[in-house]
């Protein structure tokens, strides 16, 4: 900041020696009209220099704030500071000039307009939060931005108590959230407008209380969508219960499950079921376990050899129960062996190495790669492809889908993975939920189309209505 003050002083004093130079005969002799630089009759050039002398300090004060303003005013008072600086050989530095600067600074503060008092200050509980905060709002004065006004939010917990600063805001802002408060306690606020060293306080607000709310209103759109979606799903589930037939399109990958299990049985070889690498808190893993139940039941029925290597310990525990129950339901609990569902490791690539090694050594007839996969997807699928196994894959990870499409015989793409359990079981109740999901999808497609049209004609309603916070 001292450098900035120095620069401001220097530039504000600069036009003065320039004027002096222009007034010399040497300059006049270069073709300027006689008397052009006479002290009595100021020429346009002199007026320009004067204007610059006057204007620059004001401008620098706006930019640099109080310090440079004071320096600038030293030049505005012109007849005081600047002539002395010129007399000292163009240098603005010196005891006399600093004394003049200080005087000018005082003068600047005295001449600076007082900041406007902020009006319309209100304080109320912050909406949609868990409590402990109050939002203070105010109306911004008209010229706040031009003045570079700053605000301080002051708080006290007694009507006649001492106010302390709890927040700050700049020009253009009209609210401030005060956090860390005690719910139910009264708080009073003032907003202080500050301009340089001057400030003005607003009237104190009425007592404001913070409290916890019961709903996040900014998530109302999500709730509406949830209600519409759930209603559609539940309606079609109820309809399905009334035994009204529901059509569901053929999914080749799921139709091939029976064929894949049959192939392994005929060849007398193993089936590998890889339920992804994520835990059971991932919905793709849940969907995969549902398909595993179906595959295990078929495996029990045909007496095929099934192996489920796991990367996640929770998935391992859930997969073991799923397979065990499936064998029980198929009426062949005697065929279930603990080692069918085994744990390998928690490391992604160590797991991949183990499973690909197993593929190469034991050459399973069928590989199921269904669930959430990442970088290991192609390593697994391509190794399976190289050993000639029939491969059925499924994932909702968009980045991994191309790898599965290239390396596997059948791929369940995105939503097909979630529809699999309904499709395989043919249970009307589950099929009903798929129908409800499709209705919501149709509504979303309509909303998307409408959004494109509205956005194209400049109406932003759809984009704001679907924005999530």
């Amino acid at each position: 900041m001292p450098n900035r003050v120095h620069h401001a002083k220097f530039f504000s004093a600069l036009p003065c020696p320039l004027l002096l130079l222009l007034r010399t005969k040497a300059v006049q002799s270069r073709g300027f009209p006689p008397g052009a630089f006479s002290a009595r009759t100021p020429s346009p050039l002199i007026l320009l220099c004067l204007f610059a002398t006057l204007f620059f300090p004001f401008f620098s004060a706006q930019v640099e704030g109080q310090s440079s303003l004071s320096a600038g005013v030293a030049a505005v008072s012109g007849s005081q500071a600047a002539p002395e600086a010129v007399a000292a050989g163009g240098s603005a530095v010196g005891e006399e000039s600093s004394a003049q600067g200080e005087m000018a600074q005082t003068a600047a503060i005295a001449t600076q307009p007082a900041p406007p008092v902020v009006e319309g200050v209100t304080a109320s509980d912050t909406r949609s939060d868990e409590g402990g905060s109050i939002t203070v709002r105010w109306m911004e004065p008209e010229n706040a931005k031009e003045l570079g006004l700053k605000y301080q939010v002051l708080r006290t917990d007694k009507p006649d108590g001492e106010y302390t600063t709890v927040g700050e805001a700049g020009a253009g802002e009209q609210e401030c959230v005060d956090r860390g408060l005690i719910d139910g306690q009264a708080y009073y606020y003032k907003v202080r407008s500050a301009l340089g060293a001057g400030f003005a306080d607003s009237e104190p607000t009425q007592a404001a209380f913070s409290k916890g709310n019961w709903f996040r209103f900014y998530r109302l759109n999500a709730l509406v969508l949830l209600v519409v979606f759930s209603s559609a799903v539940l309606y079609y589930i109820t309809r399905a219960r009334k035994a009204k037939p529901i059509y569901i399109r053929k999914i080749a990958g799921l139709d091939a499950v029976d064929e894949a299990v049959g192939r392994a049985t005929e060849m007398g070889k193993k089936m590998l079921y890889i339920p992804g690498i994520m835990s059971v808190d991932e919905i793709q893993t849940i969907a995969s376990l549902a398909i595993l139940g179906h595959v295990a039941k078929l495996s029990a029925t045909y007496n095929a050899d099934l192996e489920v290597p796991n990367k996640d310990p929770l998935t391992f525990a859930a997969a073991r129960e799923t397979v065990k129950e499936a064998y029980l339901e198929a009426g062949r609990p005697d065929l279930f062996r603990e080692e069918m569902v085994n744990y390998v490791t928690y490391d992604q690539f160590a797991y991949t190495a183990s499973v690909t090694g197993k593929m190469v050594r034991e050459r399973p007839a069928t590989n199921f790669l269904i669930g959430s996969f990442y970088a290991e997807s192609l390593l697994l699928a391509e190794t399976g492809q190289s050993i000639g196994a029939i491969q059925i894959s499924g994932t909702a990870e968009v980045a991994q889908l191309p790898f599965f499409v290239v390396a596997c015989d059948y791929t369940l793409i995105g939503e097909e993975l979630y529809a699999a359990s309904a499709y395989l079981s043919r249970e009307p109740v589950l099929l009903g939920s798929i129908k409800g999901q499709d209705i919501t999808k149709f509504l979303l497609i309509v909303a998307l189309g409408l959004g494109v049209v509205l956005e194209s004609i400049g109406i932003k309603f759809m984009t704001t209505a679907f924005r999530m916070r």
Binding site: L378, A396, E415
Partner: protein
């Protein structure tokens, strides 16, 4: 009871975070975060179960001298050595599990840096070769769709390398258009469908309609 308790727990575990998403009350949020903490604790115990399973499986394999049993010895040795230095390091023996203050490696750190990481890197590096073989198979122009895929892939690859830009400034632009428009549109379509599918599945699970993941047979 065997059916009802898991279904009730599933309902609560699914419904509470959903409520916490909309209701900003402290106690609701606290229950939701507590459930998350419980998941971590359960996962810790499940990991122990996994380690026991690994030991049992591989010990049996060695006993029976089943196919690939020497690999089981390597696996168990790796588990024992890393496990020993890891547990000992946790009790501040051998200087812990990270590097020592003087920059030298503790035994666990040394095994991790010079044994585990190179092996992991090797597996990941194999991806380049698999990608090449998969691309070769995918980009054969067998029919119209495959030919379109081939042309699009060539344009994208050419537009992503400096040589492509040197030949013509249109290659990077074509790449950008293919990736930003048709590719992005297809990806978003899949993502929207998958998101709805996931929501539908979650609803079925929370309401107990989908039970096959619990090994409880068909939905009711």
């Amino acid at each position: 009871m065997k059916r009802q308790i898991p279904l009730l727990l599933t309902f609560l575990a699914g419904a509470i975070p959903t409520i916490a998403f909309f209701v900003p009350q402290k106690h609701v949020g606290l229950v939701s975060t507590t459930l998350d903490s419980w998941l971590i604790i359960v996962a810790g115990f499940a990991l122990l179960l996994g380690v026991v399973n690994v030991v049992q499986m591989n010990t049996n394999k060695i006993k029976r001298q089943a196919s690939g049993w020497p690999y089981a010895i390597v696996l168990l040795a790796g588990l024992a050595i890393m496990g020993f230095f890891g547990v000992a390091g946790a009790f501040d023996k051998f200087g812990g599990i990270a590097t020592r203050p003087d920059g030298s490696s503790t035994p666990f750190d040394w095994l991790y840096k010079y044994g585990f990481l190179p092996l992991q890197g090797t597996m990941f590096a194999l991806l380049a070769f698999f990608m090449a073989s998969a691309s070769y198979r995918a980009f054969r122009a067998r029919n119209t769709e495959a030919t379109i895929l081939l042309i699009a892939a060539l344009l994208v690859m050419f537009g992503r390398i400096p040589f492509g830009e040197m030949v013509s400034k249109w290659f990077p632009l074509a790449t950008e258009w293919i990736m930003g428009k048709p590719n992005m549109a297809a990806q978003r379509g899949i993502m929207i469908g998958a998101a709805l599918g996931a929501a539908s599945m979650a609803l079925r699970v929370i309401l107990g309609i989908e039970r096959s993941y619990l090994g409880l047979g068909k939905g009711e």
